[in-house]
């Protein structure tokens, strides 16, 4: 029996760190949900949106603030209106499970895009931070260089103005 106590104590010591405040995972359910979400998104599929994001999700897109899952869907659709193709070049993500109960996922994605109007091929390097509560994302912050996208949104809007009436 003493051996078992010794074994248990040894395990505790070997796997703990006094400054440790949580663990990082990348193949847990929440991480995998987001991998599926981003893979489906590039295929214009929003099926998993409801099961991942809270209805009242807070969105912070390059410090512009929006609220609600409908706004999120509108935003996601906008990119498919601008680009004829969106591909994932590379992605990395990990989920932090902190001892205070908070859970957040950091995701880095490099998208390859093809503009519908100019046919230009470019890349967008985006960073996502997801905050979870009860297995739903309640806060999403996204940061990326907006210079290229702003130009392409302008082109897209101008192309709408130039459409003949009735189209």
């Amino acid at each position: 029996m003493n051996r078992l106590y010794f074994l248990f104590l040894f395990l505790l010591i070997s796997c703990s760190n006094p400054n440790q405040v949580g663990v990082v995972k990348n193949s847990d359910d929440l991480s995998l949900k987001l991998v599926t979400f981003i893979n489906e998104y590039v295929d214009k599929n929003y099926k998993t949106l409801d099961s991942i994001f809270s209805d009242s999700v807070h969105l912070n897109l390059n410090n512009r603030v929006y609220k609600g899952i409908l706004k999120l869907e509108d935003g996601l659709e906008l990119y498919h209106k601008i680009y004829s193709e969106i591909l994932i070049d590379s992605q990395f993500l990990c989920t932090f499970y902190l001892d205070d109960g908070s859970i957040k996922t950091f995701q880095k994605v490099n998208f390859i895009t093809k503009n519908k109007i100019t046919r230009n091929v470019g890349s967008i390097r985006a960073f996502f931070e997801y905050k979870w509560s009860d297995s739903n994302v309640v806060e999403l912050s996204v940061v990326f260089d907006s210079e290229t996208i702003n130009k392409e949104v302008k082109l897209y809007k101008n192309s709408l103005k130039n459409l003949p009436i009735g189209n």
Partner: protein, 164 residues
């Protein structure tokens, strides 16, 4: 019986330390405090701590652009103050992960606030920094943020130069 205990110990090690966990999160550790110091110094336009902990072969990925070498990195870091003043961070969060490959990564997340030197506009940009440590030195830095403030300051600077 002894073999059984050795086998049990081996099995315990395998199952307890090899799950889907790829690292542990540390707070109040030495790497987090160094990065905190670097970013606090940054607000005061000081680079002593940064220079002290940078590896000679450090690389920085700054919004998709890659710069190599300690001297280049310091120049990039310092160039910020040509375009901006009153730089300060709020909503700061610092943590370090001790990764499965025994490396350390420090994450610094904050809102970067500054005043443009040419437009006099004030900016707030959500920014995310990743510092990768190797042999007690910073070997890689990845910065994620929106370059918009730079473009606005460049535009203004070009217009000023045109009038000169």
């Amino acid at each position: 019986m002894r073999i059984f205990f050795i086998f049990l110990a081996f099995l315990f090690f395998l199952t307890s330390c090899t799950s889907d966990v790829i690292g542990v999160v540390l707070k109040n550790d030495i790497y987090s405090s160094r990065v905190n110091q670097i970013m606090n110094d940054h607000q005061e336009v000081k680079f002593h701590t940064l220079k002290k902990y940078l590896d000679e072969d450090v690389s920085i990925e700054y919004s998709g652009k890659l710069y190599n070498g300690k001297q280049n990195l310091i120049e990039v870091w310092e160039s910020e103050f040509y375009y901006f003043s009153n730089v300060f961070f709020d909503k700061k969060e610092v943590l370090t992960t001790f990764n499965k490959d025994r490396s350390y990564t420090t994450i610094f997340k904050a809102n970067w606030n500054a005043k443009g030197n040419f437009t006099s506009k004030t900016y707030t940009v959500y920014s995310f920094y990743e510092f990768k440590w190797k042999y007690d030195r910073i070997n890689e830095i990845h910065v994620h943020w929106n370059n918009e403030p730079y473009y606005k300051e460049w535009d203004k600077l070009i217009k000023i130069k045109e009038y000169e």
